[in-house]
Subunit: 136 residues, 4 copies
């Protein structure tokens, strides 16, 4: 895999401030991975025979994909850092991941993609919470 998150953080020309760099790298990774998993899971649900039972799961996947992607972008910027925006977006991301892990979790015994996606959501929720705890 070719993500260069840590290389980019190492090449940032100014001070990263008080942020914990390892947790930041980890959270960008997990939010990026979760966005992709949720996008793919929504699509896999659409191809299931019981798609009518999966409408709420698809919707939650779509919200979670958008919110994780925006969170990864906000976390990838360090110039003019504003803890209020970062914290609020991380809280939204944790809420979306929590709800999506629950929805996908409910489908995970019958649909493997929901199992994979629920795991990605749980990892991202944890990474968001750990990063929130390090913010001032």
């Amino acid at each position: 895999m070719t993500m260069a998150i840590d290389d980019m953080l190492g090449a940032y020309p100014a001070d990263l401030g008080r942020v914990d760099r390892d947790r930041l790298t980890h959270c960008i990774e997990e939010a990026t991975a979760c966005a992709q998993a949720c996008t793919a899971c929504a699509d896999a649900c659409l191809s299931e025979a019981d798609v009518s039972n999966l409408a709420k799961c698809i919707r939650t996947n779509l919200d979670c994909a958008d919110i994780c992607q925006t969170t990864a972008r906000v976390l990838s910027r360090h110039t003019g850092y504003d803890a209020n925006i970062t914290r609020a977006q991380l809280l939204a991301c944790a809420a979306a991941c929590h709800a999506c892990a629950d929805e996908c979790g409910r489908q995970s015994t019958t649909h493997e993609h929901c199992w994979v996606c629920a795991e990605a959501c749980r990892r991202c929720e944890r990474a968001c919470e750990e990063l929130i705890n390090t913010l001032g």
Copy 2:
């Protein structure tokens, strides 16, 4: 202008729940308009002679554009509605708009695009707060 937000809401095949439809329409409109204004303002700042003074303004514009766009998408979905996700994303949007209105406001006497953008941010922040107040 050709946004069909209200037509789409009117054609939604299920119940919209307890949400205030006028405030919902208004908030989708303002978040969409604010995302565009922030994208354009970041770019206009990049073309200013004093771009080095505008780095924080550009960064806040980029965050606000991403967050407003994601908020408009979350608000455009009604199937399997989850008030926790919606509320958390609206709070993030209000925080981003507040910060961006402040940053752009500081530049608005010298840069007209910052004045236009700060107005869009303030309208969107207000629309988010009014919608949050109607959520259960």
Copy 3:
């Protein structure tokens, strides 16, 4: 409606180049409106009783929403303009809108949201083609 596309273009501090400003404004408007209509139509389809017949329509809506949104962003930037990127993204946008207008058009006698969305797609496809024709 509160989109400030034309105000932002008027406040751009540098030369817009040879681009037709009216067509540019119109295309940003239509791409923004189409992205919102496609996001809402995908969700409305998810709430229909015959969702299993709408899987392809939903998928095309999701692609078209993402592509229109990215196109609106690319068109909202004028600094360091590159006609190759703009033209290629406009072609992708016209292709997505064409396909989505077809898919939604097929469902438009039974689903009003598909009718509204197909109209938005056709307007956006036309706006993309008109703008492509003015690029050098």
Copy 4:
């Protein structure tokens, strides 16, 4: 790293069609990585002392980030596959990556983040071209 692209493809409940699965996985990976690198590079450029020389580089980074992200999303969906949309979006992605690799390449002797980003752009451009060649 925790991207689960291949696990999600393996769990897709229908036929993937004639697409080359390894090249598809690789292209989603590279487009996702490139989107993150471009977002981070735009921000790193904003923090450089010579930001006024980097305006075009930042703008190209922002376009490339949006286009790569949308491309990764389109490639993550398989239901109701439409080769016309996929091909057109891959062409736009290759064009954006080519331009961004050039812009960042010009800055790469003085700015390490531009070097890292140019490499990500070149890998993504190649992955897009290889995938285009396998489409019917």
